[in-house]
Symmetry: C2
Subunit: 385 residues, 2 copies
């Protein structure tokens, strides 16, 4: 198995991008990643695209071929990968396997979603839940995560303020990220007083509806210096599944797929949770960020809220979490998120994160969740080969 490194990354601005189409977004991100890798397009051997629901959002499937045409990169293989909001993380994994196997050398993984072309994004998003047993019964994602929040408060005494604190941390970082959808700070009070969505979650606990794309180029680690002075090495890439329906699980306060995938990743990388300097975690709702920092092993189960309150996830604290702003502030174009997480960690490890740069970060982890945890993808990245 060949070792793999990242030699180029990119992200479009995330937000309500009325003047950019689905296909425009991928091509913009792709070109930027190619430039970042000091590469030309004809050096690419294959491309993977993470996208959740081109079908329901823009009436378009066969997304690989669409992008093959509009990037001008035919006849190389283009493959679309889907796992709801973890589509990007899985596309990245497939790119890694394509290189590790020896099938291809230079492979791009991109992620994209165009969510603002529909009047109501909810039905498409709900397709990430069990259609027959959840979505058709009227359950939406805010309500599923609200149940997880209630249970976490009940079991561990987690406070409403602590949950809100995760969103506050994201916005504090997002304020420094020129590609974030929301570049402004918010307060715990603002979260608590914002419009109620599904009690106890308010609108400022929820990631927004976003358009955007992101791209990453990987190649064999031994070739990486050809394209980048500071290649970032993929130390582990793992994935686990869980039931799609929340009601099928024994616990509402942990994601077993996060625990399984992250423990395997630490094992493969020969690193521990405490070795991580930065983490991009999947805070589609604030409570999921809180659960993630526990499940990933940064804090004991039930102590995530306290850690947030004590500032232990702030930049340059115990672990710098969601320096990009996270899904809440950077934005959450579903299929793009897993790739954007990899891009952010790469920028941080390269020292290219400008005003939001963490001091001396060596190792980072990305945590990308589909649905309520039916799919989780974990990547561990490092400056060190």
């Amino acid at each position: 198995m060949r070792d793999v490194a990242i030699v180029g990354v990119s992200q479009t601005k995330f937000g309500e991008l009325w003047d950019k189409s689905f296909r425009d977004l991928v091509v913009e991100a792709g070109v930027e990643a190619i430039n970042d890798a000091n590469m030309s397009g004809d050096k690419l051997d294959a491309m993977y695209i993470g996208n959740m629901s081109g079908g329901l959002f823009v009436g378009q499937e066969h997304i690989g071929s669409l992008i093959a045409e509009h990037s001008g990169l035919t006849p190389i293989p283009f493959t679309r990968v889907e796992a709801a909001c973890a589509s990007g993380g899985l596309a990245f994994r497939q790119a890694i396997m394509a290189v590790a196997s020896g099938y291809y050398d230079n492979v791009m993984a991109a992620g994209v979603e165009k969510m603002t072309d529909v009047v109501d994004a909810t039905p498409a998003i709900a397709a990430a839940a069990d259609r027959e047993w959840e979505a058709q019964q009227g359950v939406t994602f805010p309500s599923l995560y609200a149940m997880m929040a209630r249970r976490h408060m009940y079991e561990y005494g987690t406070t409403r303020e602590q949950i809100a604190g995760f969103a506050v941390n994201g916005h504090k970082n997002g304020a420094l990220n020129p590609k974030a959808q929301f570049q402004r700070e918010i307060s715990v009070d603002a979260v608590l007083n914002s419009t109620k969505v599904a009690s106890p979650l308010n609108i400022l606990d929820c990631s927004p509806v976003s358009d955007g794309a992101s791209a990453v180029i990987v190649c064999p680690a031994e070739d990486a210096k050809k394209y980048s002075d500071t290649p970032i090495y993929v130390k582990a890439s793992t994935q686990a599944s869980d039931t799609i329906a929340l009601h099928s699980r024994k616990s509402l306060t942990q994601l077993n797929a996060t625990i399984t995938a992250s423990r395997k990743a630490y094992d493969i990388a020969g690193l521990e949770a405490k070795d991580m300097d930065i983490a991009e975690v999947h805070d589609c709702f604030s409570i999921n960020g809180l659960i993630a920092i526990e499940d990933l092993g940064f804090f004991e189960k039930g102590k995530g809220g306290q850690a947030i309150e004590e500032g232990l996830i702030a930049r340059n604290s115990q672990i710098s979490v969601n320096t990009s702003g996270g899904l809440k502030a950077r934005g959450h174009p579903l299929g793009a998120t897993g790739i954007a997480q990899v891009a952010e960690v790469t920028w941080q490890l390269r020292g290219d994160a400008d005003k939001r740069q963490v001091d001396g970060a060596e190792n980072g982890i990305t945590h990308n969740v589909g649905g309520t945890g039916g799919t989780v993808a974990i990547q561990i990245l490092s400056r060190n080969n």
Copy 2:
């Protein structure tokens, strides 16, 4: 890179399966493949699922997690792959790369589509074309392939009867396949006198709307004898892209992605077109079957019609084409087709094809097309390691 072998295959009956849901179909195929491999489910390390449009057909994305739950195989990784009607072929390729890379040992690739839960399947199918430049202008797939047929007739003198002959050949084989949607023979006259769809194509030139699933289990070639007395070896697995829009191409009478992917596959396998004993080709419309037998190198460009007329694609002739019945007679549940092609070639090479068995087949090829050729996946399989 590790060599890969097929140790189990399955296919549900294809057809209008009113009493089976999307999830039922995958689980049925999966269990049957596990049994065929003399394996237990807990030996599986990962699963790939080819599916075109769960979103538009049944309102369901996050298909990996759905199947993880309903197969009882959590927490192993489940990944859905999409490339319109080539989704199955690409899922199979990802399974191969997962094994070749060393990431996983025993991997299942399944394909599924449930097309009969909507009143009109056309809008979902049209999502395989360029939504903005083709589908929204009123172009449907029968009309796109009709233009290809007209042009082939104009350029090469191909006759309407020769095109019809491809469907006749498929039905002749399908009549012997207990899992085919249509198990009856048809005549050239029947095709010519059937309802017009998009001139020159009639209803009997068109593959049907189908429900169904199929599954394949692959493992490292060196382990294959543990699970199967007659493992079938993957000699090559390739993929190529082309423009999604038909109007962007220079030729309407060939699929460049077929030519690119098949030439690369022959090269990797160290075999030639003439070494193929059997071929499962993508006859979503009869004309596409005719074009395929030319593009795959079995017959010279422009001579496909004559070859059909002379019986050179019949069972046990020059090359046995679509012994399963092909998309036309076996049925075409979009995401399942690429996997079902692999299953048929495997049965033939193992000598398990019962009444439709080809004599002494050693090597076979599968040809799986997305859209009008925007994606093509090719697999070359052999009895010989």
